[in-house]
Amino acid sequence: MIVELGHYALVLALALALVQFVAPIVGARRGDEALMATGASAALGQFALVTFAYGALTYAHLVSDFSVVNVVEHSHTLKPLIYKISGVWGNHEGSMLLWDLILALCGAAVVAFSANLPRDLRANVLGVQGLISVAFLAFILFTSNPFARLANPPLEGADLNPILQDPGLAIHPPLLYVGYVGYSVAFSFAAAALIGGRIDAAWARFVRPWTLIAWIFLTLGIAMGSYWAYYTLGWGGFWFWDPVENASLMPWLAGTALLHSASVMEKREALKIWTIFLAILAFSLSLLGTFLVRSGVLTSVHSFASDPTRGVFILAILVVFIGGALALFASRAGALAGGGLFAPVSREGALVLNNLLLTAACATVLVGTLYPLALEAFTGEKISVGAPFFNMTILPIAAPLFLAMPFGQQLAWKRGDLLGAAQRLVVAVGLSLAVALAALALRGGPALSILLAGLAAFVFFGGFAEIAQRIAPRRTQLSVMLARARGLPLSAWGTAFAHAGLGVTLIGIAAIGWGDEKVATLKIGQQFDIGPYRVVVTEVAPRTGPNYTETVARMDVREDGRLVAVIEPSKRAFQARRMSRTEAGIATMGLGQIYVALGDQVEGGAIDARLYWKPLVTLIWIGALIMSFGGLVSLADRRLRIGVARRAPRRKEMAGALPAE
């Protein structure tokens, strides 16, 4: 019964989404206040209904209701509770329902935080948001119904794919989806601005917090996915340039560009049309990502099932939204008042460079991801574009971007002084050289690692250089420095942390060159030297878990004879699906990790294994956490807080109150 109610709620939600799409937009055209106001209640109602539907599906999973196809195919009575809850989105139908839930949440959040918005803009934003909901609710109801019943329910389910039975499943998809879907708000704002034909600095101020929230979640989601792949796939890599990873990287790159161009628009009323375009692009790439992952054109751990009708449906959604938005853009953008021009050497100029490089990087990732698909569609030839392509194209684009980041922070708005900026960065340059030289002297290793370490240090120290100079331009008392630090706008701190976080990630990547890697056949009592550590195999034994059995190899990790850690890499066999999964044994030593992944059992109790020593590897993900923290700090800035922004009347006064950055 509850399952049917959930299905019914979803149908009602679709009907409400249609109302939310049509009524406010028509109202905004006619200037009809009452019609415009329906958008808000429709959005809230839709959120309540989709939440109920989602709750109903979760309930079916919790009680193992095997009369529901979705539960039969992806659950099992013995499955641990956490995977019964997170398993709801561990399959195609459920994950699309989560997509819709977050979309509805975004709509409700817009309602909650948009009291200050001009009414027509608010109505148009909610209308566009409604249209997106219509598309995706229809997608679920017509091609991917999670509530389908089974006439003869079996006694037991097929269980969740073992690769997904991992705490990562509870965290990674929701984070990533909030990021993906969060960009829909920026998209709706862009479309609403084009429909309404009005765009100004206040618009950028409305959009920035939404973009920032999506960006924070996307950053965390990508980092979490990367760490999950790292510890679960057994290859010890953190990024594989897999099309599915690229699908999440592209909106991240576009969204990062959007954040930066929106700040130019907000401060200087320039780059308006470009910013609108980026807002459309970021969400379009999110949709493309959804298409690539959910349509079955790619096979990976993410493609749960391939059903051609779904692919065609998502492709249609993709074409309608991207095509529609771009057509709207083409027809309306010319009519929008363009922004002013500015000197190339200035904060604005630096942000334009940032945008150019980020979009160029995004374009190359797009080419590398879609080229194989296009080639196969047109010629039937199958190729794979892998890491060598991306390393070769992204590095030359990224390196100048990293180099330019600290300079951008140093340049003033309107007219910058490159020489002055260079002088102010002398300390950062000195520290980076010191880091590079220290790396060379202490570790040696590949030249690329040394160079990248220096570059990473430059991004890190350069990130804080601006703050340092604003707090203490010359020798200053500590109390004065603290007072000044408190006085700085939080957005300046946010920028510093976000940039420094990238530096931290880059150091982690540079350190790959100093790692150690071995493939060995392990026997009890055998020792292996890996990096500065010695690994001793103490036991190889079977063990039983809740819904699997495993072969565990216990190993002592010793440093100078002293026991520093015990790791238990294992090989799990899941009965329900007759599948096995490698569980890496990982010991974190400071910032580095010892990583052991088991292979197949061979004769005589010995077992094959890959052993890695990965110095500083955790910095890759810690850096992403710092980046997100920077975003959060920016978000807390009074000026950027959701709903605080107001239109024209207060603008002059606010601009006057802001310190010139």
Binding site: A343, P344, A360, A363, T364, K382, T393, I397, S580, R610
Partner: protein, 148 residues
């Protein structure tokens, strides 16, 4: 700088960035792509030794030979033609005779693929799409997902 010069500076900058990105992509695409062949297609092509290829098919029953240490040799078949593969490393979790597999690496002069990467299927339902296509071409595809 005049307005015109400023605008020119931006346009030139933008074109340079786009040009560099396009150039890099073209250059990288020329050297860094790997073609996928089924065993039948591979037999029809003259692949120079040292060229990297990806092949897909089933691991031929009875062809798996364990050598010294972790060295293994096996044949990949699409039932019409076979390709010999040599691999030194840890085979993936679901590698079994009779199962779908993708192997990637340089071809050697004697027609053996020196694989440095072997991929098997993720679960009992999933077959690498390339393998499924290679098998469909030979008409021996039995899995699901054919018509839906």
């Amino acid at each position: 700088m005049t307005r015109k010069q400023r605008r020119l500076a931006f346009v030139v900058g933008a074109l340079a960035a786009i040009g560099a990105a396009v150039g890099l992509s073209m250059f990288a695409l020329r050297d860094n792509i790997v073609f996928f062949y089924s065993p039948t297609e591979l037999a029809a092509k003259e692949i120079k030794p040292g060229v990297r290829v990806r092949i897909g098919g089933l691991v031929k029953e009875g062809s798996l030979v364990k050598g010294q240490g972790r060295a293994v040799a096996f044949a990949v078949t699409d039932t019409a033609k076979d390709v010999k593969v040599a691999y030194d490393g840890i085979l993936p979790d679901l590698f079994r005779e009779g199962q779908g597999v993708v192997a990637e690496g340089p071809m050697s002069a004697d027609g053996v693929l020196r694989a440095d990467n072997v991929l098997a299927k993720h679960d009992e339902k999933y077959m690498p799409r390339e393998v499924a296509d290679a098998l469909k071409k030979q008409g021996v595809w039995q899995g699901e997902g054919e018509k839906k």
